[in-house]
């Protein structure tokens, strides 16, 4: 309930002995309509919780035997030979590629999405704001294969000069080193850019919703103090919208971490013997693209388990990120009305 604005009416009710609202609520009458709707809602809630738990349990059950057979360190090894008499596999490369592409995507999409949302809600004239919002929402409806294809065949060719420019200025930092192999459009950096475009509509749509909810009273309070428009946004709009923007970023990050098809199409997989590189202008595979690339070869339980273990890491990673965001939002709850 507090996920979008950090505010919910129920939070302001005296909580009595701190029981959850469901117990404290005596609004249910036991009439047929109440019982049916209450039952449906409760059932749906329980269904989702059970479903997520079962996914977790499934991943663990499938992954554990393979992990026990693993002769390399799962967390620190770069090898990936998941089957045979001497299975050796680790996730360092996958984790790095997944995290760096997602961070890049967030670094681009969050500021951009928040700016677009501010434009739509605070700056755009009324006749423009609705169509602009609809257009951005349409971005979310584009299938990811289209992004992948567009990236490869159209946008990618321009990224070479971008990569060279960044290398020329920042190339002395290992992260930004670009040596032309693989070609620019097959690098982690470009995958991050495409991911950013893909999560942009999510970030924009949710940010837009919260910014539009900022009470006029708060905006006028700032203006009446002699705030300029930008100062008004900084004083009233952004602080009010912060929990919503964090939620938006987390949803976007969830998609970026798990996005498969576009990333698989773009990224050039590394040769198993290639040296580990920190550069965002290197190739690699994310958790999702590795699983997709090799999905045709799941011929033994041992091998499948190794890939599922990788999927489990993705699951846990997403969980940690979401939990961290929740902590940030909750900690400021008293200050969000």
């Amino acid at each position: 309930m507090s996920s979008i604005t950090g505010h919910s009416a129920i939070d302001e009710l005296p909580s009595g002995d701190g029981r959850p609202p469901l117990d404290a609520d005596k609004a249910g009458t036991g009439r047929l309509g109440d019982r049916i709707f209450g039952g449906l809602a409760t059932g749906s809630g329980i269904f989702v919780i059970v479903l997520v738990s079962l996914v977790g349990v499934f991943l663990v059950i499938q992954a554990v035997p393979s992990l026990l057979n693993n002769n390399a360190n799962f967390l620190t090894s770069r090898e990936w030979v998941p089957s045979g008499a001497d299975p050796r596999f680790g996730i360092v490369d996958l984790l790095w590629a997944t995290v760096i592409t997602s961070i890049l995507a967030m670094a681009i999409a969050v500021p951009l999405g928040v700016s677009v949302a501010l434009f739509i809600t605070q700056y755009a004239p009324a006749w423009l704001s609705k169509p602009a919002a609809t257009l951005v929402d349409l971005l979310a409806a584009v299938p990811s294969i289209v992004y992948g294809f567009w990236g490869l065949s159209v946008a990618g060719q321009y990224f070479d000069s971008v990569a060279k420019a960044i290398d020329a200025v920042l190339g002395w930092i290992p992260v930004f080193e670009f040596n032309g192999s693989p070609i620019a459009k097959s690098t982690l950096a470009f995958a991050g850019v495409i991911l950013a475009i893909m999560i942009l509509p999510i970030v924009t749509a949710i940010s837009r919703e919260v910014f539009a909810q900022v009470p006029t009273a708060h905006k006028e309070a700032a203006l009446a103090l002699g705030a300029t428009k930008w100062e008004m946004i900084r004083t009233a709009v952004l602080p009010f919208g912060k929990p919503g923007v964090i939620s938006a970023a987390m949803l976007g990050l969830g998609r970026a971490l798990g996005e498969t098809l576009a990333v698989t199409m773009l990224l050039s997989a590394l040769n198993a013997s290639a040296a580990f590189s920190l550069s965002i202008f290197g190739g690699g595979e994310t958790f999702a693209s590795r699983i997709a690339n090799d999905a045709g070869e799941f011929d033994s339980a041992q091998k499948t388990g190794a890939y599922i273990a990788a999927g489990l890491v993705l699951f846990i990673l997403t969980f940690i990120v979401n939990a961290a965001a929740r902590v940030v939002i909750e900690r400021r709850k008293a200050f969000s009305e």
Binding site: P215, A217, A222, A224, T235, P239
Partner: protein, 258 residues
């Protein structure tokens, strides 16, 4: 510091709709002027033109003259932001910034003005909260959220926030309409103190309140339904409530409206 307000032949529009017509009045420095009248007659609209908050509403514009001492607030060279820093405003519903602590709420305007020195900020925060008769109630919890105070305290917090930037004029748009009688009394006492430093203009629906706090009262009314609002009469409060010139005023204050 306090300044005189001169309004002359003021017409106020929302887009093409003329909401208020032909208002002329003078507000003396260090006095309290009350705007009374039925709902929808344009009192708040007139109030909002005095610090150019009216034009924040899409389509809002004015014709005529509003001057602070001899400075035309609507001169082309006049920056509305600068006007609002000179003419402070308190709204109908208490609206402290929900994401800020009590201290930061009071300091918000100062920070907009670029004041960063923490010691100076603390001094002004204390002075303003004292000026708003709130200091004793909140001095031990300045870092708690402003939204956690009671309604009356929140409104006094908003007054503290408005006077912290040391405005020339303080506008109050029905500041007590969301408050209980005790909180209302606290605000009225405060208005009496504030007028030693500021020029105060207050919109109120409560005629007793107008009689209690103001030196001068302006009665607004609609010409007819669908017609623009206008200023019927402005005079000393005592005269308005004992012996008004216009019949409409007498009808309104004696409850025989219509």
């Amino acid at each position: 510091m306090a300044k005189r307000i001169d309004v002359k032949d003021l017409n106020i529009f929302y887009g093409d709709f003329k909401a208020v017509e032909g208002v002329s009045l003078t507000v003396e420095p260090r006095s309290v002027t009350a705007f009374i009248g039925p709902s929808g007659c344009g009192k708040s609209t007139v109030l909002r033109t005095l610090n150019r908050m009216h034009e924040v509403i899409p389509g809002g514009r004015v014709e005529g003259k509003v001057a602070l001492d001899d400075q035309d607030l609507y001169a082309p060279s006049m920056d509305p932001v600068a006007v609002r820093r000179t003419v402070g405003m308190v709204f109908q519903r208490p609206n402290p910034f929900p994401t800020m602590s009590i201290r930061d709420n009071v300091a918000a305007g100062l920070k907009l003005n670029g004041l960063k020195n923490k010691k100076q900020l603390d001094e002004v925060v204390e002075k303003s909260l004292k000026g708003a008769n709130l200091w004793n109630e909140v001095k031990d919890r300045l870092d708690k959220p402003g939204a956690g105070l009671s309604g009356g305290q929140q409104q006094r917090l908003c007054i503290a926030r408005a006077i912290a930037v040391d405005p020339q004029v303080l506008l109050m748009d029905e500041p007590c309409s969301a408050l209980d009688p005790i909180s209302t009394l606290a605000i009225e006492d405060l208005i009496n103190e504030l007028k030693s430093q500021f020029t105060v203009v207050i919109v109120t629906h409560n005629m007793q309140q107008a009689a209690r706090v103001s030196d001068q009262t302006a009665f607004f009314n609609l010409k007819a339904t669908g017609q623009p609002g206008r200023l019927v009469e402005v005079d000393d409060t005592q005269k308005i409530f004992s012996n008004p010139t216009e019949k409409a005023t007498e009808d309104y204050i004696s409850g025989r409206f219509g």
